[in-house]
């Protein structure tokens, strides 16, 4: 099968941060993911990862990321071990993350990890010989979410360069938007960051975009920003990331995406969200053609199938 021919060698490679990848490499993954769609939908089947075992270590709650990794592995004929809740593991007895990783390393061919501490996946990669995939490390990185977001924008808007992309919500603690801002700048998108003053995009991310030749606009006003947007990427104000509950209460509910707001936007604007959403998108928006977030969530499967195939060297 021609689409299984791999031109770049990803075998054994850790997927920790989107910053570890060149644009050419990202393109390769996205192109490969595109060809995975019929397999992700179960319309075609190839047990190319038969005999391979994936450790799925989720120290923090997850619905989409964990299930889509498991689906990706199953769709390719592989098996998954692991946990969705660390309370049933030796971590409760005080075991270090390093030792947990050593064990998973000896039981499986690849490790997917989500952890509440920043840098956890990079640490895991130090203690594992098998490839490690970061499924979110605290407020750090979430590279596979970033890849599926790029995949979605590329598919829906027929490209990323020069598209006007508005990121709105918690830009300070939201790991998704940090990775995404970098990647979008890499592709030459026009960026606007909308957030409450206390949840502004970190200066490191702004500087990173500038180094890539993109000067992001920053504002607190969504009404203005939405008018020119091709893509509206909404994020949840994440209660669990706030060191101070008072700070959370002051900003929660700052932005609400509803039909009224979208009337002011371009007709073909798409609304994306990494999910879960709480109150930031009115359920009425779900029925409109602007709502892409459920399709976006599905795209996690082909993208993760592509990644797993590549890092497991799937001679696919």
């Amino acid at each position: 099968m021609s689409f299984f021919l791999i031109k770049m060698d990803f075998k054994g490679r850790d997927i920790i941060s989107i910053r570890d990848f060149s644009k050419k490499e990202i393109d390769h993954i996205l192109n490969y993911a595109n060809k995975m769609i019929p397999y992700a939908k179960g319309k075609k089947y190839e047990a190319k990862l038969k005999g391979k075992v994936l450790s799925s270590l989720f120290f923090e709650p997850s619905t989409r990321t964990r299930l889509s990794f498991e689906t990706a592995m199953n769709r390719l004929g592989g098996r998954v071990i692991g946990f969705a809740d660390p309370s049933g593991t030796s971590q409760k007895k005080g075991e270090s993350l390093a030792d947990t990783i050593r064990m998973a390393n000896s039981y499986s061919d690849a490790i997917v990890i989500r952890h509440h501490q920043e840098g956890a996946a990079r640490l895991a990669a130090e203690f594992a010989d098998v490839p490690v995939v970061n499924a979110g490390d605290g407020a750090g990185h979430h590279p596979t979410q970033c890849l599926l977001d790029l995949f979605t924008i590329r598919a829906e808007k027929k490209g990323i360069k020069n598209k006007n992309i508005v990121l709105v919500g918690d830009l300070k603690y939201g790991r998704t938007v940090h990775s995404l801002a970098h990647a979008l700048a890499l592709y030459g998108a026009q960026l606007t960051f909308v957030s409450p003053v206390t949840l502004k995009m970190p200066i490191e991310v702004i500087n990173d975009c500038k180094e890539l030749g993109v000067e992001p606009l920053q504002t607190v006003s969504l009404d203005k920003a939405v008018k020119e947007a091709d893509v509206l990427y909404v994020t949840r104000i994440q209660k669990e990331r706030f060191p101070d509950p008072g700070e959370y209460n002051r900003v929660v509910g700052s932005y609400k995406i509803n039909i009224e707001l979208l009337k002011e936007a371009k007709k073909n604007i798409i609304v994306m969200h990494p999910l879960p959403r709480v109150t930031e998108i009115d359920p009425e928006v779900d029925k409109t053609p602007h709502a892409i977030y459920f399709k976006q969530a599905f795209n996690g499967v082909p993208v993760r199938m592509a990644l797993l195939s590549l890092i497991l060297g799937g001679k696919l």
Binding site: S17, S96, L97, A98, H115, H116, Q117, E118, G119, A120, R122, L123, E126, D137, G138, A139, G140, E204
Partner: protein
């Protein structure tokens, strides 16, 4: 020969060209005066061709390379002179390596390097002068490097 503000030492180390005002931080990095009985002389805001500088002289103690690395974090232009019998036996300008391992703690309380894991802190040097570093694990850049020295 130009007269020195502080006396020559017979044996030990002279740290010259310390960024003006940073001598006390250098002493902190070296763990002085705790744990040493060496005589230490400090001169601050000394005039030199390149403007004001600080100088530290530590008698009977030769700095080891790890200590030199630590100093480079806050005094990137410093030079270390090892003195033996009143003569300069060794002299070199400090320079930050590309990585600094085990010398600083990360400023991010939720960085995995601050958890009880069997790893030393690790920082990538983004800029050598003025020193700018980034945590290898969480990628946070500490604002005040001197405050992060272990």
């Amino acid at each position: 020969m130009k007269e020195l503000k502080i006396p020559l030492i017979k044996n030990g180390s002279v740290i010259d060209h310390i960024t003006s005002g940073n001598a006390v931080k250098v002493l902190h990095i070296l763990g002085i005066p705790k744990g040493t009985s060496s005589v230490v002389s400090v001169a601050m805001n000394v005039n030199s061709k390149m403007g004001k500088k600080d100088i530290v002289k530590v008698e009977n103690r030769e700095l080891d390379p790890q200590e030199v690395d630590k100093i480079a974090l806050i005094a990137p232009k410093a030079t270390i002179n090892i003195i033996r019998n009143y003569k300069v036996a060794k002299k070199h300008k400090v320079e930050l390596p590309d990585e600094v391992i085990g010398l600083l703690s990360c400023s991010n309380p939720t960085c995995v390097s601050n958890a009880k894991e069997p790893v030393k802190s690790r920082f990538m040097v983004v800029c050598k002068d003025p020193p700018k570093i980034k945590c290898y694990y969480c990628e946070r850049e500490p604002e005040d490097i001197a405050d992060r020295i272990i």
